[in-house]
Amino acid sequence: MKNRDDRVPLDARGASRRRFLRGAAAAGASALAAGPASALSFDLEAFFQKHFREMSQEDIEALQTRLERKYESRYGKPFNVASTGPIDGVVYGYGLDIGRCIGCRRCVYACVEENNQSRDPEIHWIRVLEFEREHALRGIDLEEGNPYYDHEKVPAEGKFYVPIACQMCEDSPCTDVCPTGATWEEPDGIVVIDYDWCIGCRYCIASCPYGARHFNWGEPQIPADEVNPDTHVLGNRPRPRGVVEKCTFCIQRVRNGRYPACVEACPVGARKFGNLLDPNSEIRYLLANKRTFVLKAELRTQPKFFYFYG
């Protein structure tokens, strides 16, 4: 990782490195492919796979190659499964301007496409709740939100909107309750899931105060022409059935310096993203200058997802 060119954007560096590694690893893997193990429908290699956090660099590269080959044969196009690590001195924070959100759900579907969510059974990582403005006099009571509104045009008269996805809690109940340690908080604050280690007990869903976690009840279906081949091991790679998934702040994008897909999709610019440790970032500006709040603050989950207005 030395001698890199600091002038190129973050993702260009990551991609070139991966391309090199992938070429080398694929050469090794193709030699093994002819063996008798490939005839087994039950994937022993996957069955005995180690916990992501205990893998060596070689293990991870082998995993990436295996996944890429699997997805390439399933979807018929080249895949990139990255394992880009966190960046020193970066903790991600998210801001959402509820004064601006119009409830158009552009973010919901941008997220579905970017993050390869199952189309059927349908999974949406973002849920947009609609509230009566009059009721806001009593504060936002999440129990009165309606995710199923269907108007001709939004924003509808007298309503306001609160989109909810993973709040990236600093003290996250979901990672505490997971019996296998298959979900944890990364150094940059992203709560991730090892889809190959999750046993699907759904204790984390029971423990999440924000309904952010979603289970693959059936075999996830993604049309091959819509699948996003630019993926991350801990993020948007296609998931197996029977495991839990959730928003990762688009880990495959943000660790390369890019904005999450929902930020880019929002037509009104209500979604803000940046480095909480950088005093000049947009997220720090709004924390310092706007009226911000977090959902269910009384639970002390300490979200890194801030709602603001004014």
Partner: protein, 210 residues
Amino acid sequence: METEAPREPHDDGARIRTTTWFVLGIAAMAVLGLFSVRCELGPNVAREYPSRTLPPEPQPVLMSAPPPDEDYYPCSDCHELEDRNPQPRELEDEHDDLELAHGDLWCLSCHDLADSDSLKLSDETLVGFDESWRLCTQCHGNKLAEWRAGVHGKRTGYWWGPKEYRTCIVCHNPHSPAWKPIEPLPPPRPPQQIAGRVRAEPSEVRHEEP
């Protein structure tokens, strides 16, 4: 503790009892120990990653304003100096499709009477249509500060790296700047309707290579 006959001097029972408790204690500790083997892998421990640092941030890229409407621009094609009427009025012959809903503003609040291809700041400085944001921010100064900080308006690209900003009129129609309602994308399916393809083969939609 036991129902049996009076204890004898060499009580076998006591010895067995002690041994049993001892073995149970060891077993309990062994079980707890086994479960604790990986306890350093707590919920907030990540793996060891190679160190990555941020490069210096490249300059933002300003997304230019959309070019003026060719049906009307350049304005001077029609607006000849002689027949200019500065009086605020209902527009009837031309620009009657224009929705003017921007406070009490009238055309000449922003457009220059003499040089119709320019905009006029409050200090009478003329600026081109491509610098309209300078005009807007005369009144909306607080928005300028927020826009500079990245909090007002939309940014795309890189949170750390080249990012695209948008000037005011990319999103706001200067004649009617309030946001117009748009059609929402479809609502999520309620849980009752999420049945998946229970009867379909899991591999059905997989793309098989020829």
